[in-house]
Amino acid sequence: MVASATQSDLRENLTLEFRRGALVLAVLTQLHREQYGYSLKKLLAERALEIDEGTLYPLLRRLEAQGLLRSRWRIEDGRPRRYYRISSQGEQVERELAAEWRALARAIERLLS
């Protein structure tokens, strides 16, 4: 029982680790048009990538602190919302990450086949 719980924890941790890097790339690709947190979550979900809100929103702030995103507050429907958009530095990083992703995917595919 304990062993199976540990194994499931381990699998969960490995999956989280695996997704973490990919999420950055996913978020960068979707922010060429301005989005606020919830609209971005919906957009990603429509494109089959579910991200938990508690992970996505802090990630946006972290990417902004790293200079990969820009943000501004806008009032919409009487409510202030923080809108994010990719920065020029973010576009550069996105291109590099995308190239890395494709190379990695090809390598893993070869290893799996």
């Binding site: 606020y36 947190g37 919830y38 919906k42 809100e53 508690g54 992970t55 929103y57 802090p58 702030r61 507050w73 409510r79 202030p80 919302r81 923080r82």
Partner: protein, 331 residues
């Protein structure tokens, strides 16, 4: 839509964030939660009632956990949450030292001008400045130690964990919310008094300076005062522990409030024993008048605490949060 619960939640997350990012994260989080709640209500074709909000908040996660995603905890001796208070406390200490040095300098200059025959010699001046710096460094070390203890305790603060209930979140203006700065001051004062009375009783004194004698102090305690030290140490130990427990729990609870009241009664008992007992002070009458005033103050404080405890006999709903959260999970 009732946003009270969202406000409580956002405020609680903010409580665990460094001050410089708090307002911004709170504003964003509030707007994101409102979006989530509205969307869920629309999808379910119902109004955004407290039941729906509770579900959204539970899904979002316990406030402490959410806060760590925004500002991951790091190993600090004194972390960003307390560093501002620490800087302020050190600044106040620096001002006190500067004021003491200035007062000594002015007194020395005035004395030298008025009576050149009794001018302050360099040796005496250095001895006073040395004592001021010695005391300042000792207190700086003690203050830093207290902040390190508080940081450690807060890092291990009880987390609400997965079994948590948003309805049990305390209100924004929670009277039981603690101020870490207040507890730091209490811990520092307790430690300082305990060290002073146990190891340097001769420094429980009236201090002064005259050019002839240099710095002097009149000790207030007679050797017989040692009789009361075990009781005083017990009180300091209990008060120190209570402060640590409250810091660890993150807010006052009824048990800790009652303990605080009981400690107040113990302090009154000790004060009465000292006042009615044999002389243990030099200038015994004067010191005991001061102690009688302290006793009256302590009595009024304890009366006020008892009144508040009896006036609100039922535990506040948020105080029973853990139990309710477990029920919700099981139910």
């Amino acid at each position: 839509m009732t946003t009270e619960l969202i406000n409580r939640y956002v405020h609680e997350v903010g409580e665990h964030l460094p001050a410089q990012m708090r307002a911004d994260v709170e504003a964003e989080l509030r707007s994101l939660l409102l979006d989530m709640v509205e969307e869920r209500a629309r999808a379910a074709g119902r109004t955004a009632d407290s039941d729906l909000i509770t579900r959204v908040l539970r899904e979002f996660g316990p406030p402490e956990e959410v806060a760590t995603r925004y500002a991951p905890p790091a190993q600090y001796l004194i972390g960003p949450r307390l560093f501002r208070v620490y800087k302020m406390a050190v600044g106040i200490m620096g001002l006190v030292v500067a004021a003491l040095l200035l007062a000594f300098f002015v007194a020395g200059v005035v004395q030298t001008i008025r009576n050149p025959a009794e001018a302050v010699t360099l040796g005496k001046a250095l001895s006073v400045v040395g004592k001021i710096f010695h005391t300042a460094i000792f207190n700086f070390g003690l203050l830093t130690l207290v902040f390190i203890i508080v940081e450690r305790v807060q890092q291990h603060r009880e987390l609400t964990g997965k079994l948590w209930n948003p309805a049990a979140l305390p209100p924004v203006d929670d009277p039981d919310r603690i101020s870490p700065a207040g507890h730091v001051f209490s811990l520092y004062a307790i430690l300082a008094f305990a060290i002073l009375f146990n190891f340097y009783p001769e420094w429980v004194a009236i201090f002064g300076f005259t050019p002839k004698a240099g710095a002097w102090h009149w000790p207030l305690l007679r050797p017989e005062f040692k009789l009361y030290l075990p009781l005083l140490n017990l009180w300091w130990g209990l008060a120190f522990t209570l402060n640590l427990v409250v810091l660890r729990q993150g807010r006052w609870r009824r048990e800790t409030r009652w303990t605080e009241f009981a400690l107040g009664l113990l302090a009154i008992g000790i004060l009465l024993m000292v006042i009615l007992g044999p002389p243990v002070f030099r200038y015994d009458r004067i010191v005991k008048v001061v102690l009688i005033l302290a006793l009256i103050g302590k009595g009024m404080e304890s009366g006020g605490r008892l009144f508040r405890l009896l006036r609100h006999p039922a535990a506040a709903p948020w105080a029973a949060g853990d139990a309710e959260a477990s029920d919700h999970q099981q139910g």
